[in-house]
Structure formats: structure tokens, C-alpha cells
């Protein structure tokens, strides 16, 4: 069977993501550029997994807390337990997923704005716990410092180290491509189809035999697992942790990236994260006006492109065709080809 157009688009998209991220160090090895690029890749894991949850119509404001749970879990396991990064990395994901089951299970009993607000409440509780409680473990308000970098990895007789910026970049790259492969695969499977259906009409889906709650919880737990993995990378590449790394502010940025990019497609968060991160680098030119301009850009984008940046090519295409085709297009509207 030849691949369907949808599958072909998925493969092309994934190929572009892989080529772009793997190829970047060939273009620039400038330390600042690599730093920004590494942050983008890490944020991509977070926004793409957040979109998996949003695609059922639920905005989880505690997503970043699971990144935090992963970060602290990996750090404590390595610094206190002496485990290797290659174990703590996965434990971080599992730990986030384990916490996601009760938290998601409770939060998903409500929907819409209630869900939004209850997850926000959870995230604040988690952050305040990191900041104020169990200080001997989480470091209290001063956080954790001197976190070791990832351990070297012996692979087929070759010793790989993760000390330099480019090496860390490639590690993040591998993690992203793994996560993206899972997310893209799911998006083009029954899992993605059903998630999309739930967003369009959860009551209809439920009466057609879809156990909506379990579906949403599955997406929640998987999304949290990925956030936990991103958290472990964050901890060992930044080497310092602070509760404010997992507060409302960075969470809001993740939502902005995801929604501005467009939640209708698995590639929306990729576009949003890359474009907005680079754009905000340029917006530094505005100095004092930076935040003002950034806010205005968000408002205008949402008003002009309600479905996000990802819908821009389609919109332009229609505009061009309308310009060239004129009335024929308008008259033909509604008739299937």
C-alpha cells in the first residue's frame, strides 16, 4: 500500500525536523547560538507534549511541574544515590508519569476553565513545595547547585562525553527526535484521530464508545513522562535548579509557543517555539519596549491567525488563488473536486 498523503506529510515533516536539528552545528558552533538552539530543542519536547494534551481540548497548566518533578528526581538520585545519568534520565520520566496518574486523575474530573484553574492550583502547590518544604532535599529557596553533567556513555566501544555545549546539544537532539517520533506516530494513528474527535465533541465521542477520561489520562501521563525527561536534561545541562524554573512564568511561555504555533497540527508547536524564540532574540533590539512589543505581537497574531502560525501558508495560498482565480474560485466553492 502506498503511503497516504497524511503519512507522507508526517514523514517529510519529521525529516525536516531531523535534518534541521542535526545539521545546525554544521552551520554555527557559536556558543551563544548553540545555547539558544539547545533551549529551543528542550522546549520543543515540552510544547509538543503539551500539544498532545491540548489536542483533546484541555490546557494543563501543571505541565511544567512534571518537568520539575523529573528535574529534581534525576538530580537527587544522582547526587544522593550516586546513580548514573542514563538511569536517572528514565527514572525522571517515570517519576513524572507516576505523579501524573493521581494529579491527572483528579484534575480530569473537571473540564474547560475548571481544569485550567485546578491544574494551575496543582502547579503552584508543587512549586511552593519545591521552594519551601523538604529543604534538605530540594534545597529550599536557594535551590540546588553543582549538579553534575551527564555521565559519559560507552556505546559500541566508543566513549561519548557530554561536557561541551555541542555535545549536550546533540544529546538533547536525540531526546527530541525520539519524543517527536512517538508524538508524530501517535498523531497519525487512531490515537490522534480519537483525540481530535474528543476535542470536536467529547459527548459524541463518549456515546460512540470512546472512554474519554481514560484517553485524556493516557495523554496526560505520556505528556508528563516527556516533560520529566526534558526536566532531567534541564537539570544536568544547567547544573542549577530553582523552584522558579517551574513557575507560572515559563509555563505561560510554553502555552504561548504552542498556541501561537497552532494546536491543530503536531507541527504547530514546532513552528511556534522556533519562530517565537528567534523573534524574541530580535526583539531585544527594542530594549525597554521588548515586552510591550512581544505582547502586541501575541494579540495581533491571535486576532489575525486564530489557528496559529501553522495556518499561515494555507491562508496565504487561498489568498493568492483568490487573487488569481477570481470569481471562478468563489463560484466553485462547495463543490468537491
Amino acid at each position: 500500500m502506498p503511503p497516504s498523503p497524511a503519512l507522507r506529510r508526517a514523514l517529510i515533516g519529521y525529516g525536516l525536523l531531523a535534518a534541521g536539528s542535526l545539521g545546525l552545528p554544521l552551520v554555527t558552533r557559536d556558543s551563544y547560538h548553540v545555547d539558544v538552539a539547545t533551549t529551543i530543542l528542550m522546549n520543543l519536547v515540552l510544547t509538543m507534549s503539551l500539544r498532545l494534551e491540548i489536542s483533546t481540548g484541555q490546557l494543563n497548566m501543571a505541565h511544567i511541574s512534571f518537568m520539575g518533578i523529573g528535574a529534581y528526581a534525576s538530580t537527587i538520585l544522582m547526587m544522593r544515590g550516586g546513580y548514573s545519568f542514563w538511569i536517572t534520565l528514565w527514572v525522571a520520566g517515570v517519576m513524572a508519569a507516576v505523579w501524573a496518574v493521581p494529579i491527572g486523575g483528579l484534575a480530569l474530573r473537571v473540564s474547560g476553565p475548571y481544569y485550567f484553574l485546578i491544574t494551575f492550583a496543582f502547579s503552584e502547590v508543587v512549586r511552593l513545595i519545591f521552594n519551601n518544604f523538604f529543604a534538605e532535599w530540594f534545597g529550599g529557596p536557594s535551590g540546588l547547585v553543582q549538579i553534575p553533567k551527564p555521565d559519559p556513555l560507552r556505546l559500541a566501544g566508543v566513549q561519548l562525553t557530554f561536557v561541551g555545549k555541542v555535545e549536550l546539544y546533540y544529546l538533547m537532539c536525540a531526546l527530541l527526535l525520539l519524543a517527536a517520533a512517538v508524538l508524530v506516530r501517535l498523531d497519525y494513528s487512531r490515537f490522534g484521530l480519537v483525540g481530535n474527535a474528543i476535542r470536536q465533541g467529547d459527548v459524541l465521542a463518549e456515546t460512540l464508545g470512546v472512554w474519554v477520561f481514560r484517553y485524556k489520562l493516557t495523554a496526560f501521563v505520556l505528556g508528563s513522562f516527556m516533560a520529566g525527561i526534558a526536566g532531567a536534561f534541564f537539570a544536568h545541562s544547567h547544573q542549577v535548579l530553582h523552584s522558579s524554573d517551574f513557575s507560572l512564568e515559563p509555563m505561560v511561555l510554553l502555552v504561548v509557543f504552542t498556541v501561537i504555533g497552532g494546536t491543530g497540527s503536531v507541527w504547530g508547536p514546532v513552528v511556534g517555539t522556533v519562530v517565537l524564540t528567534i523573534a524574541s532574540e530580535f526583539m531585544r533590539e527594542f530594549h525597554y519596549y521588548e515586552i510591550l512589543v512581544y505582547g502586541a505581537v501575541l494579540i495581533l497574531t491571535m486576532l489575525l491567525l486564530p489557528e496559529g502560525l501553522i495556518s499561515l501558508p494555507g491562508k496565504l495560498g487561498r489568498l493568492v488563488r483568490r487573487g488569481g482565480g477570481g470569481e471562478a474560485e468563489a463560484m466553485g466553492a462547495g463543490v468537491a473536486p
Binding site: 481530535n196 456515546t207 460512540l208 493516557t218
Partner: protein, 242 residues
Amino acid sequence: MAVSDLSMMVTPGAIHGLIGPNGAGKSTVFNLISGVLSLSAGEIFFKGERISGLRPSEICRRGVARTFQATTLFREFTVLQNLLVAAHLRAADGLAPALFASPAYRRKEREALASAQENLTSLGLGGTAQAGRSVEKLPHRDQKALSIAMALATGAELVLLDEPLAGLTAQEREETLGALRRLRDRGLTILLVEHDMKAVMGLCDVVTVLDHGVRIAEGTPREIQENPAVIEAYLGAEDARA
């Protein structure tokens, strides 16, 4: 709209009509049976098992599917995608099978696809051009047909149809009535809410009449038509509306 003290029995293999003036509680009954609303008192059994208190998806899995009064579809999907979602219970569910595309997952997906195509054809929506069409662009009749096809695609033995004839032309009504009779002859049980009295009386084996959430009569169409309480409640309401 509240329903109280309602007791009714649907015979397997029959077409059972549920009628009553506006606001009699017909749609509420559908919502209660399908689990969209929960009962405050009482029980509902299907094939000897209690289904009240279960979540809607579980009730559907046990064999009860429904349509909605305002024809409800996944608006952004194509005809085929709608049917594929409806065939969810026949497909391999869950994360791992979808992720690793196990042979069982692929076989079940093929089966779901095949049964979706079959449903399309049986409702006169066949052909690939139709399957790939966005449901937004379908004519009203086809949207109605699709919503019924989706209820069937779940594999249900009892389908609850909420006004399947609303908004159809006389000829489309005849076609739909014929299709419903064929479904009954294949062994399906149908419970339907409908305002078209002539159609209900011609189609149904049994009719239950609701008024203000209470059952006021039940029987064959002939018995119902001669029941004075029905005539008063129903025609009185008709007069008031006219």
C-alpha cells in the same frame, strides 16, 4: 426537563416510538438511557444487565448507541474519519498498539475501515469521493444518514434515534423509513423520538406517549390513536402550538 416514574420496556427486534408534545421529556429519556445524564432514582436494564450508572462509553460497548436531535458529527472530519471514530470499539485501543502498529492493530484497523466503508454503502453514501468529503459540505439528508451510520458502526444492538426524519423532504422521509425497516428486519432494535405522527404510526410496532415527564399511554399505534388521554394531551398541545 424532568422525567418521573417512567417505566417502559423495549422489545428486541422492534421499532419502538417515543412520542409526546414538546417538553414532554423525550430527549431526557434518551440522555438517561445513554448515560449522558445520570438517573437520580430508578434503574435501566439492557439484556438483563443493569446499565444505569455506567459511563456512556461503557453503555455503548454493551450495545446501546444513539443519535442526537441536532445532528451531531465531528465537523472538521471527513465522512470516513467520522465512521472510523464510530468504529472505535472494534479497533485496537490504547497507546502501545498504535505506537508499534502491531499486526493485530493493523488488522483491526483494516476491519474498522472495511466496516466503515460498508456502512457508507448501505446508506447510499458509498464511493471514495463521498468518503473523503468533509461532513460540513454534506447535504442535510446525508448528515442525518451519516449520524445513523455512526451509531450502527459501534456495533450496537439497540439504537436510539432522536428525530431521524426532522428536516427531510417527503421523498427523503420515505427512503429513511424504508432503511429503518430494513434495519429492523436485520434484527436491530430501534427506539425513536419523532414528531411526524403519520410516520410513527406507520413505522412503529409499539408506541409510548410521554407528557410532562410521565407516561400516559403505551400500546400499538392503533391503540394509541384511539386513546382519549393521548388525544387530549397531544392534540391539545398541537392546537396550542398552531
